[in-house]
Amino acid sequence: MTEEKIVVANKGIIRAEFAFWVGQYMDKFYDALENKKIVGNKCPKCGDVFVPPRKICGKCNETIPLDQNWVDLPDTGILKNYTITYYKINDRASRKVKKPQIIGMVQIDGSSTSIVYRLLNIEPGEVKIGMKVKVNWEEATKGDPSDIKGFSKA
């Protein structure tokens, strides 16, 4: 048998640049992030508060009007779940690293859902579901998801 030959190793032959418009609701959310504030919106039917905000409550199949039901929320929340990984997950090749990252699911106070961010300045041994956490803002915000650097103990 001959040696295995890889004819096409697709390294950068195609570079597809996608550009997704975030939509009117997320636009307001990112504008708020840029000002270091968190906003959500509330389903007129079930009362669930979504962070980030949405046009549709999937459960109720209801539209949340763009000009109504906005809720200003604090930058604090409760840790609902977490995982610790040695994969460098914010690197697209997911290489392994020496220092683990703790990723948490945080329910912003006053909201009904959780968002997923890195936990900062918390050691693996002290992380606990139910702990109070607060946003660590990037100093220079850009109006995108990276404005929230992560969450640390409140």
């Binding site: 997704f20 609902k80 977490y82 995982t83 990984t85 994969y87």
Partner: protein
């Protein structure tokens, strides 16, 4: 309703880096299924495939699989989900009354794509993808921890499932060699590298290279083709919302609803006594426990107490399950094939005694967002 049977099947041996071209592997699977049923290319009236453009590294990936997949000058289309979903589509094609033989095949080769990178393309591009904290890796950790916290389950109890399935895989000649370990212990599983705490590497169903195929025929043709048709008597499908932060990850609402739908169609009131064996697509060890609880086979939080060994009270994944090898787009299809083998008494080396009714499941999405469940029955 017209009855539809599975009348032939084939699966290639799973490899972490197969010495095959993509299309050679597809042909071996599909042609093997035809040979298994004593049929020829001319007997095929429709083909449904399951592939993924990201895994194949090309768009409209089924355009190049026409000949190996049996679709040459035939009616063919693709389901970009699990192979178990392609079976539903094939079933509907046969139930339309227009088709006498449907080929359903699915598979991928993990050796040819960057596994974690393609999964990042599952995430919401306007919110989660730029920061990449939601991924196939972290979602596994969230799901296992949610289950452990809700019911006070230990990692040891979940590792038991990884031990069982990896030991079962030893007797399955088609399982992935790296997954087969006759001497594996709980300690090995718990002390393997952390994937995403509390999930360890040996609790993960490793993506690999593989293709599987099966054949569907309506009752009249099925009885002509084989003395051992396996009837699809129930199927259920459901999906949850995408955002992990909206979901209760300690359970699987979609599997519960899929189970209800499939059991109702098949007249199953008590799966625990009426079903003889289950082949479930567990992408991680903890998912097997979550699924058997969601299907009502074990009480909530008690999945680990069920004796799911081959000779146990309710055997689950006697073939080794997805932990025995996870060729994406084929894995759920292989579960169905394994259930067929059990019913036909063809699961040599890992046969469960006296099987006439079996269930098999497929899934897709993070934390098994979408689940499909089949009830399969033999003639006895």
């Amino acid at each position: 309703m017209e009855k539809v049977a599975i009348v032939g099947y084939n699966q290639v041996k799973l490899y972490s880096d197969a010495n095959y071209g993509r299309y050679e592997m597809i042909f071996e699977a599909v042609r093997g299924a035809l040979d298994n049923a004593g049929l020829k290319k001319k007997d095929i009236t429709t083909v449904v495939s399951a592939t993924n453009d990201y895994y194949d590294g090309r768009t409209i990936s089924n355009s190049l699989t026409v000949e190996p997949g049996g679709g040459y000058l035939a009616d063919e289309s693709k389901v970009e989900m699990d192979g178990a979903h392609a079976v539903l589509y094939g079933l509907m094609r046969v139930l339309s009354g227009n088709h006498k033989l449907a080929v359903v095949w699915g598979g991928s080769m993990a050796s040819s794509y960057p596994a974690h990178t393609v999964h990042l393309y599952e995430t919401d591009p306007t919110w989660e993808r730029p920061i990449t904290y939601v991924s196939d890796i972290t979602s596994a950790g969230f799901q296992m921890r949610a289950y452990m916290e809700k019911y006070g389950i230990s990692a040891e109890e979940i590792a038991k499932t990884a031990v069982k399935n990896r030991k079962n895989a030893v007797n399955n000649p088609l399982a992935l060699a790296e997954a087969q370990n006759p001497n594996i212990t709980l300690k090995d599983v718990l002390e393997s590298d952390i994937y995403s705490d509390p999930v360890t590497e040996l609790m993960v169903a490793q993506p690999c290279d593989g293709v599987a195929a099966l054949l569907l025929a309506p009752e009249k043709q099925a009885k002509k083709i084989t003395d051992n048709p396996v009837w699809i008597t129930g199927v259920g499908l459901s999906q949850e919302t995408y955002y992990l932060g909206d979901r209760d990850l300690s359970t699987s609402k979609s599997m519960e609803l899929a189970g209800k739908m499939a059991f109702q169609a098949a007249g199953i009131n008590d799966p625990n006594t009426q079903i003889d064996v289950a082949e479930l697509y567990e992408a991680f060890a903890h998912e097997e426990l979550i699924f058997i609880e969601s299907l009502g086979i074990a009480e909530k939080g008690k999945g680990a107490d069920l004796n799911a060994e081959i000779g146990g009270d309710f055997p689950v994944n006697p073939s080794g399950g997805a932990l025995g090898g996870n060729p994406l787009c084929a894995t759920g299809l292989i579960r169905i094939i394994e259930a067929v083998k059990q019913i036909r008494g063809e699961a040599k080396g890992y046969q469960v005694k006296n099987v006439n009714k079996a269930i098999a499941s497929g899934q897709i999405g993070m934390c098994s967002q979408n689940n499909i469940l089949y009830v399969l029955e033999g003639d006895n």
